[in-house]
């Protein structure tokens, strides 16, 4: 079953694989530099005190992303 969701909807500690990044090219490039590109494994690990932004484990590093940006990233949840 192929269910693609937005990264901001992936629940904490669930793994996912990035399938599509719909951000503006500049931000997309920046994300790619930080290891967030199509095909990368990503896992939300915590929320900030006001629920936004959230921090994601990407490639052994911790990256903070605003939910509005994470919405533009589509992921396929893993097991």
């Amino acid at each position: 079953m192929e269910n693609i969701i937005s990264l901001c909807d992936l629940s904490i500690n669930k793994n996912g694989t990035v399938t599509e990044i719909k951000c503006k090219p500049k931000l997309k490039n920046r994300m790619s530099d930080l290891g967030l590109y199509e095909g990368a494994e990503v896992c939300p690990v915590m929320k900030s005190p006001f629920d936004d932004p959230r921090a994601y484990k990407v490639n052994d590093t911790l990256i903070a992303l605003r939910n509005s940006d994470a919405k533009q990233i589509k992921v396929k949840p893993g097991d």
């Binding site: 931000l27 530099d33 290891g35 932004p53």
Partner: protein, 622 residues
């Protein structure tokens, strides 16, 4: 053409992702003290230094940390330009062994530009604790350049780096083709990622042991959670202010007594030499008094706050502040990274303004630059502490008093943050529309700061810096003020004419002519604001030595200071034009005189308006 200058034999550049320890390696190689910190964007400009290894001189350039060389941001452009135009003999590519895959993409990108390189697997001890082991021999074969494991705190790894760097430089003299496009790897990020992953599969093994990550996760659970994140942040700053306030008391008193003693001796000496009154006046009453004030009252809080703040920087906590507070910044239409530049502003506004380079969107960066001065810097904190101590907690209140001082100071800083957010919001609405740059911030693992090294180094650094500035600014300011106070036009001094001129305006905004003058004359350095006030007040009659809070307190009340004056003084200390150094930095960073003037106008206008409102409302009730 090779980018060497005549004095040095070789030129070497240090490149790498942000926060991988480039500056630490640079310091270790050159023996310099570049400031380091555990967060992305601590170093945003190039650093230069010389290292002498085996009789040869190496010119080292510490490039700003970048995630790639695509030239999207200012730092990337600087780094890429340097590698292409200055054509260093060798590049030391510093990688974070802990995030090897992502760091390798960057290494491959650099290698596409410069073949003569040394790869430095830094933070290797941390990676080992995290269960990541890298086969450096295999990696070296795959990349075709020497690879060494380093951990910046260990001496023998540096020794090895030095010899490998030397060999690489010597080799570069023979093979000139540094940029052979035919065999160079691609600079397409996608290709780089795939290549990097393939290389990692061959030479990196991971075990389940993740000690550093687990520690970071445990700490983050406390430091960024809904219930405890914000309270702990406030408590931490309260603690910081409390240590600063109480810790500064004792050295202040000691220094004050010492300077008074010397002053008496100087008076005796001048009398013995039959020195003319003018000389005694300008040298002792003018220069010496101002200098001793800056050193005894302003220096101790600065020399305590700054090192403590450096410890927090080293620990990796600052990016968490940005993470915790981003929502508020988002609502104000600015970037969460602005809280990093504001935190730096607490140390020094000029540093804070330079730090704004970490914000990519020009509009958000401009707002961060224009509002940075609202955070009171290290030079203004002692003014706030002095006023709060004298008027709101009492000079004899002891331990409990210092806690109260710290809490009031914390409240003042929180208000500063709120004002910054408000002004940012207004600016973001007023300035021309531009889409937000998106929030992407790396949260580094927590690291134990090197307490002794950081403390000793930054106390010394700060002391030397403040003393240097005191000599360059406070001494001349003292002389000028003394002259102003002692040259008479008609029946009163120039200073009196000036303060009289500002008096009506000053009293309208809850201050007086002297305070307004002090802020204007304190433009070169805010540390001199209180000494200038003292000079001006003592010239008008009361003569005494003012090296402690209680004496200052007596003098201020003798000059009609009330709670209203104190509150307005606090407002004005926070909200007035930046010091000359900061203004120059703003001019340099924005390249625009108009924006520099705007950065002076916004806080000053706000300060005057707020003071006038506060003073007139308080007068109705008091």
């Amino acid at each position: 053409m090779r980018g060497k200058n005549r004095q040095t034999d070789y030129s070497v550049a240090l490149a790498g992702n942000p926060n991988v320890g480039k500056s630490t390696i640079f310091n270790a190689l050159t023996g310099l003290n570049r400031h380091t910190g555990n967060w992305t964007g601590k170093t945003v400009d190039c650093g230069f230094g010389i290292a002498k290894i085996g009789g040869k001189l190496f010119k080292l350039t510490d490039l700003p940390g970048t995630y790639s060389l695509n030239s999207f941001s200012e730092e990337e452009r600087i780094a890429k330009d340097f590698l292409l135009n200055n054509n260093p003999d060798c590049v030391i590519i510093t990688l974070n062994s802990n995030a090897i895959e992502r760091n390798l993409s960057f290494a491959l990108e650099v290698l596409a530009l410069k073949k003569n390189a040394v790869v430095c697997l830094n933070l290797s001890d941390e990676a080992e604790k995290n269960g990541i082991s890298i086969d450096s021999k295999k990696l070296s074969d795959l990349l075709g350049v020497p690879v060494i494991k380093t951990s910046a705190v260990k001496k023998d790894s540096l020794k090895k780096l030095k010899s490998v760097m030397r060999e690489a430089c010597e080799k570069s003299g023979h093979s000139e083709s540094a940029n052979d496009l035919d065999t160079a790897p691609s600079t397409d990020t996608r290709v780089l990622h795939i290549l990097s992953r393939q290389i990692c599969e061959k030479c990196v093994t991971k075990s389940d042991k993740r000690r550093v990550d687990e520690r970071t996760a445990r700490l983050d659970k406390i430091l960024t959670s809904k219930a405890t994140g914000i309270p702990i942040m406030l408590a931490l700053f309260a603690l910081l202010f409390w240590i600063t306030a109480i810790g500064a008391n004792y050295p202040s008193e000691l220094l004050g007594t010492f300077f008074d003693f010397i002053k008496q001796k100087l008076y005796d000496l001048f009398e013995l030499m039959n020195a003319p009154g003018f000389l005694t006046g300008i040298l002792i009453d003018g220069i010496y008094t101002t200098l001793s004030w800056v050193v005894s009252v302003m220096l101790p809080p600065m020399a305590i706050f700054f090192p403590l703040f450096s410890l927090i920087e080293d620990s990796g906590y600052l990016p968490r502040i940005a993470f915790n507070l981003d929502k508020a910044y988002n609502k104000s239409g600015v970037h969460g990274k602005q809280s990093l530049t504001m935190a730096m502003g607490l140390g020094c506004n000029a540093c804070g303004v330079t730090g704004c380079r970490i914000i990519e969107s020009p509009k958000e960066r401009l707002i961060a630059v224009l509002t940075n001065n609202i955070m009171p810097c290290n030079g203004r904190l002692p003014i706030l502490i002095a006023i709060i101590t004298i008027f709101f907690t009492g000079t004899a209140a002891g331990l409990l008093g210092s806690v109260k001082t710290a809490l009031i100071l914390l409240l003042v800083i929180v208000i500063c943050v709120l004002i910054t957010l408000l002004v940012s919001k207004v600016l973001s609405v007023c300035l021309k529309k531009e889409s937000a740059s998106g929030f992407l911030l790396e949260l580094p693992p927590y690291r134990k700061p090197q307490f002794r090294k950081t403390l000793v180094r930054s106390i010394l650094d700060r002391t030397i810096f403040v003393l240097g500035r005191a000599a360059a600014v406070a001494a001349p300011a003292g002389a000028v003020i003394w002259l102003f106070a002692n040259i008479y036009i008609g029946d009163s001094s120039i200073l009196k004419h000036c303060t009289d001129f500002f008096e009506p305006f000053g009293s309208f905004i809850g201050l007086d002519g002297v305070i307004v003058m002090a802020f204007i004359l304190g433009f070169p350095a805010n540390e001199t604001v209180i000494p200038i006030m003292i000079m001006a007040y003592s010239a008008s009659g009361v003569m005494s030595d003012f090296t402690s809070y209680s004496e200052l307190s007596a003098m201020l009340s003798a000059n009609n200071w009330s709670a209203i004056t104190a509150v307005c003084m606090i407002i004005m200390t926070i909200l007035h034009f930046p010091c000359s150094t900061t203004c120059l930095t703003i001019k340099k960073e924005t390249g625009s005189l108009r924006q520099t003037l705007l950065s002076m106008l916004i806080p000053t206008a706000l300060g005057i308006i707020l003071c006038a409102i506060t003073a007139n409302i308080m007068r109705m009730f008091l």
